[in-house]
């Protein structure tokens, strides 16, 4: 226990938490900015091949982080097509990988939330003169509980993810070590108590972030 306390007073812990939030926050932002509009669109319009797109998105929710990590790694590797960017083993690479993992979750669950809004509501909004984008935004606000859940699920998926960030970040101390990779490290060392303690920290961080997200959802009502 005293070991835990010493561990927790380490300034590195703060830095690890900060990097975790920065990477996951940025990835979530990217995935949201891309995934919410696309999910909304897919939920709103009917088109040929919709079923296939749905299937692809749903399957994307099951992309193994390790495979995504490998893919990003091979792309960013110095012998890969994007090697010149020099992103490998930097937080940027981790953001890219997590954004890819988060995207299908955000888009797929937003789609199902938007599709759950009564068609009559959409017709009403259309008849009041809303443009395509305004319609989408209005329906999104009506579906905000489901859209928030989509973002929450994606956040949970990537903040707890380790396979991809380990591969493309390298778990470099002081550089690219986040909470999950630190947990894995302690686990491999047999330091189970420390690993569990960091797990608790991670869960606390996720809890705090969700409090904020639900606040935001509440705000949207008063628009």
């Amino acid at each position: 226990m005293s070991q835990l306390l010493t561990e927790f007073r380490r300034p590195e812990l703060l830095q690890i938490v900060a990097l975790t939030l920065r990477v996951t926050g940025a990835a979530l932002l990217l995935a949201t900015v891309a995934g919410v509009p696309i999910g909304a669109l897919l939920g709103l319009v009917r088109f040929r091949g919709q079923r296939l797109v749905t299937l692809v998105l749903y399957t994307g929710m099951g992309l193994p982080p390790v495979v995504v990590g490998l893919f990003v790694y091979l792309s960013l590797s110095s012998s890969g097509p994007l090697g010149v960017l020099g992103w490998l083993f930097t937080p940027t690479a981790m953001i890219v990988a997590q954004a890819i993992i988060a995207f299908p979750l955000v888009a797929g669950l937003t789609m199902s939330a938007v599709a759950g809004v009564d068609r009559a509501v959409r017709q009403q909004v259309f008849a009041l003169g809303a443009s395509r984008w305004q319609s989408a935004w209005t329906v999104l606000l009506e579906a905000r509980v489901g859209v928030t859940a989509a973002i929450v699920a994606a956040f949970g998926g990537i903040i707890s993810e380790v396979g991809a960030v380990m591969l493309v970040g390298g778990n470099i101390e002081g550089q690219t070590r986040v909470l999950t990779t630190a947990i894995v490290l302690y686990t491999r060392q047999g330091e189970f108590a420390l690993a569990m303690a960091l797990g608790v920290v991670l869960i606390a961080v996720a809890f705090g972030a969700n409090v904020l997200l639900l606040r935001l959802q509440g705000r949207l009502r008063d628009q």
């Binding site: 110095s78 470099i172 101390e173 060392q189 047999g190």
Partner: protein, 279 residues
């Protein structure tokens, strides 16, 4: 009563199964896959290999979740015995560590004769160095080398990864960094590491100029008096079999066809004893 309760909480012995907790290097090199079928036939049992980090392997043993552990962290192994989780440790085999680095060799270590000197040169040049940083046997060896050179590595050039050997080599390859690797993993992966060269350690263990780079593997059967749930019978048989000259001979031959040199060198007392008359 409390003791009875503890005993009752123990998992039942699974006859016919031997749980072997070991480090990833023994498994990833393919050694276990090559030698274990013989033992499975011999004892008419199945061997479940749990390949994890060294620390984790020992911890699994400490909790009685494995019947036998095969690791390469001598000091930690002694501690394991001091804590009564096993009665004895047996030498099994050894191989060696090598220092690899970028082909350009900015710290000019290729000409050094010992790891201590090489590490000192790397630190002086502040050339990138990738460390396992995971408390593994390899990292323990690395730390011992830094200590012998009176150095405490720190700074942007020193990257502590907290990953396995393979991953660390991958990072070193990308970042053109030096690293300490066990020879087996290096040999197995060097085709995929175009930016790295072996700079210190020679072409085989016989040519390794630095005895400090030796990597010793030991085996321990978990003590059934402390962990009644373990399959002590099979564990005992396994240890006996592993150090037997016949098995040791197979270990010595492993890797010859693929790499032209063995990956592991037999090191058990019985093997050494069996070699004496031959000399």
């Amino acid at each position: 009563l409390a003791a009875a309760a503890t005993a009752a909480a123990q998992a039942p012995v699974k006859p016919g199964v031997l749980r072997l907790a070991t480090t990833t290097s023994t498994d990833d090199s393919g050694l276990l896959r090559a030698i274990l079928p013989a033992f499975e036939k011999l004892c008419a049992c199945r061997v479940d290999v749990i390949a994890v980090g060294t620390g984790q392997a020992l911890e699994i043993g400490r909790r009685g979740d494995a019947d036998v552990v095969l690791t390469h962290a001598y000091q930690s192994e002694l501690k394991f015995i001091a804590e009564h989780h096993a009665r004895e440790r047996f030498d099994v085999m050894y191989n060696d560590f090598v220092v690899v680095g970028p082909a350009a060799d900015p710290a000019k270590i290729a000409s050094r004769r010992s790891a201590r000197e090489a590490f000192a040169a790397i630190a002086a040049a502040k050339a990138p160095f990738a460390s396992r940083g995971d408390n593994s046997g390899t990292e323990t060896a690395e730390m011992a080398i830094w200590a012998s050179a009176d150095l405490k590595p720190a700074g942007a050039w020193y990257r502590s990864l907290g990953q396995g050997m393979g991953e660390t080599l991958i990072v070193a390859n990308e970042q053109r960094a030096y690293t300490l690797s066990d020879r087996g993993t290096w040999l197995a992966m060097r085709d995929k590491l175009p930016n790295l060269r072996l700079l210190l350690g020679g072409r085989s263990i016989a040519e390794n100029p630095d005895f400090a780079l030796r990597n010793r593997y030991g085996v321990m059967a978990v003590d059934p008096r402390v962990h009644p749930g373990v399959n002590a019978e099979a564990a005992r048989k396994f240890v006996e079999w592993l150090v037997s000259p016949e098995t040791q001979r197979v270990i010595a031959a492993f890797g010859m066809t693929r790499f032209g040199q063995p990956l592991f060198y037999p090191d058990s007392d019985r093997w050494k004893a069996s070699q004496v008359p031959a000399r």
